[in-house]
């Protein structure tokens, strides 16, 4: 009686779920987990939308706040690293543009990671009362960080116009490095948010790591100033590969891409992702009891 309005493929998918038996046992891993994650994909969108809507309720300039922070950071870094310290930029690109090209992926990683770390705990009321694959919660935080990224991207385009700097063909390859950035963010996010549920100490560690990472990663400076013998070791930080890649795409060949470093960063990102998903899935069943 109620099926008339539903699309036939929806009914088909539901019938499939209906016939599948779910067995709940201690220590049993869910064979249907990834299928369920697809089934709950709308919830990811809704949670991200909720976080974004709430952020700008009862504000006046609303979305502009998303632009002011990266802009000011860029100004400060350019002044300190570019003018005062007189560090070299990549090729002939303006220092500010180089900084911003690195700031873009870094901001995505740091805000995504910091939000994700506390996402499970702040959604405790959902975790303890409703079932859905818990991976959706940190993924929603990353989705919100992604929206911020897109907003800052427009600021980047505006800056390119300002400096009369054309990006060249390599900018089409930007989505590849964006994808690498998402990989590099997702692994640590899952790991830290699962650990934070069990051991609340991590709440204090995270701001410190973010601060530390901001200066260790090549955001305010170019990674070309790192001495040759240390460059490979430096690339263990997965964000080094992502930031270098972003600069290579945006700055139209003014930035050189260090391929061994990129490969290492990619491997570390994938390793962290694997560890993150593994730990998260193992701890997932006990979230409701610990949160």
């Amino acid at each position: 009686m109620h099926d008339f309005n539903r699309r036939s493929d929806e009914i088909q998918a539901d019938k499939q779920m209906m016939q599948e038996t779910i067995i709940i046992e201690p220590g049993r891993s869910d064979r249907h987990y990834w299928l369920e994650l697809w089934h709950y994909r709308e919830l990811l969108r809704v949670l991200a939308w909720r976080d974004l809507s709430v952020r700008y309720k009862q504000t006046i300039i609303g979305i502009s706040w998303g632009l002011i922070r990266p802009f000011l950071t860029m100004v400060v870094f350019t002044a300190i690293f570019g003018r005062l310290a007189k560090l070299p930029s990549d090729g002939a690109a303006p220092y500010a543009l180089m900084v911003f090209a690195g700031l873009l992926p870094w901001t995505f990683f740091s805000t995504g990671w910091a939000e994700a770390s506390n996402s499970l705990v702040s959604n405790a009321n959902l975790i303890s009362k409703v079932y859905f694959p818990r991976l959706i919660v940190p993924a929603a935080s990353l989705a919100v960080a992604f929206v911020d990224f897109m907003i800052s991207f427009f600021l980047l385009i505006a800056m390119m116009f300002w400096y009369h700097f054309s990006p060249g063909w390599k900018i089409i390859l930007l989505p590849i490095f964006l994808f690498l950035g998402v990989l590099a963010s997702l692994g640590p996010s899952l790991l830290i948010t699962a650990l934070n549920v069990k051991y609340r100490d991590f709440r204090f560690v995270i701001p410190f790591i973010v601060q530390f990472g901001l200066y260790v990663s090549p955001v305010g400076f170019s990674s070309s100033i790192v001495p040759e013998q240390w460059r490979l070791l430096y690339s263990i930080n997965p964000m080094v590969g992502v930031i270098d890649g972003f600069r290579w795409c945006i700055l139209n060949g003014q930035s050189q891409l260090y391929l061994p470093g990129l490969a290492l960063s990619f491997c570390v990102a994938v390793l962290l992702l694997w560890i993150g998903i593994d730990r998260f899935r193992k701890m997932e069943k006990s979230f409701a009891d610990l949160i």
Partner: protein, 429 residues
């Protein structure tokens, strides 16, 4: 293929509780020893990946122990039990929110759970936005929510306030909206945990009505936890009684309810506390003899109320009356024993007054007594006792034909219908 949609086998759930040991004198040395012991234990637990418990001692608490039962497709099962019996824990395990410690559950259908109304509601978002948010959280697709949007708003009666942030809603509006979204879920298995006891009486009736539709008209499998025994009796076919984590009874609803009400509930009696000794005539004890045990009375059965009146000196023209007061503070029955029709208290000692009701036809609900001992009207009032002898009237059979609710009426009178044949229509002149 069997029709079993839920199968629970040997289900157990254990929690770890921490306790602070409270030594009488805590010297610094004792504190250091105790705290380092805790630290070492926590470090070992951390190492082995176990849960870290705050406290000096750790105790095992089994919230559920060896639960076994099956549910067939389309059945409506009630789960009852006292607070702390393990009902919510069982529902959490069935909803996959928490994992069992032992045992296994097999589900052959999609489950939607209502463990709390307004899960995920965000105070800053408007009513409209929260409907979509809550719907998505409960597992409805956005398309489904859009399709049912008007129905949901009509059920909640908040149309005017849809675009106001929910933080401005009254508590009644909040729960109405929350329940309205949840009431329009369409899963195969629906699990509901005590969420119907919200809102005013009218809304409760509406919620129960909706639950009734879901259970009986739509043919879903429903697991329903409630403290409202009347609702359980009315909506469910079978029931499960949980006591301290184990199944105490399972079977046909009325039998399980009788089993429940006869356990550990206080009898409908009053004994005067020793410290309230009075000089003059007073009521020393009161008792109601109900049809079932422990203060529960079946509608229509005979009931007897007994009062022991102690008087150290003979009373002249003593009068006694009592009222039966319902949960709405209305006096539904007023019985009196007035001089000279009933004479008591002529000699010193204790008089036992018994009042018999051949068939008590009060509507279902909770009641108590207010008793008055006095001289004839116009004279002295010796004593009034209020709020004594709580008892409950229940009705398990006839409620199936028409769902009874305590607010429907105070009393079910006897009535008789006859039909007059219709007279021929007179022509309009």
């Amino acid at each position: 293929m069997s029709d079993t949609i839920i199968s629970v086998q040997n289900l157990s759930k254990r929690y770890l509780l921490g306790h602070q040991s409270a030594p009488p004198h805590s010297t610094l040395r004792e504190v250091i020893v105790r705290e380092s012991g805790n630290f070492i234990r926590n470090a070992f637990d951390l190492f082995r990946g176990r849960q870290i418990i705050q406290g000096d001692e750790v105790e095992e608490f089994w919230a559920l122990k060896n639960i076994n039962f099956d549910v067939k497709r389309g059945e409506v099962i009630g789960i009852i039990g006292r607070n702390g019996a393990g009902k919510s824990t069982l529902l959490k395990i069935l909803s996959r929110i928490t994992e069992p410690t032992e045992g296994r559950v097999t589900l052959r259908g999609r489950v939607a759970s209502l463990l709390e109304v307004g899960t995920g509601f965000h105070a800053e978002l408007t009513g409209r936005e929260n409907i979509f948010l809550n719907g998505a959280i409960l597992g409805m697709t956005q398309q489904e929510v859009r399709r049912k949007f008007d129905e949901i708003v009509a059920f909640a009666e908040v149309e005017r306030f849809l675009d106001t942030p929910v933080k401005r809603y009254s508590s009644g509006m909040y729960v109405r909206l929350a329940f309205a979204v949840a009431a329009h879920l369409e899963p195969e298995i629906l699990i509901v945990d005590e969420v119907l006891a919200v809102g005013d009486a009218d809304f409760q009736k509406k919620c129960l009505g909706k639950m009734g539709d879901v259970a009986h008209d739509e043919g879903r499998t429903v697991l329903f936890v409630s403290h409202n025994i009347a609702a359980i009796g009315e909506l469910t076919d079978r029931a499960l009684l949980l006591e301290s984590g184990s199944v105490a009874a399972i079977g046909e609803t009325s039998q399980v309810i009788s089993s429940y009400v006869s356990r550990g509930r206080a009898a409908a009696a009053y004994v005067r506390p020793v410290e309230n000794a009075a000089r003059g005539p007073h009521i020393s004890r009161a008792e109601i003899v109900t049809s079932d045990l422990n203060g529960v009375h079946q509608f229509g059965e005979a009931m007897e109320v007994k009062f022991w009146i102690r008087h150290d000196a003979p009373m002249a023209k003593a009068c006694f009356s009592f009222q039966i007061i319902n949960q709405f503070q209305q006096a539904t029955v007023h019985a009196w024993a007035l001089y000279p029709a009933v004479r008591f208290g002529n000699q010193e000692g204790v008089s036992l007054l018994r009042c018999k009701f051949p068939s008590l036809r009060l509507n279902i609900g909770q009641f108590y007594l207010r008793a008055n001992l006095s001289e004839p009207p116009g004279g002295d009032l010796y004593e009034t006792l209020d709020g004594i002898c709580p008892f409950e009237v229940i009705q398990t059979e006839a409620a199936r034909l028409w769902p009874w609710h305590p607010s429907d009426c105070a009393y079910h009178e006897h009535w008789d219908w006859t039909l007059e044949p219709s007279t021929a229509q007179s022509k309009v002149g």
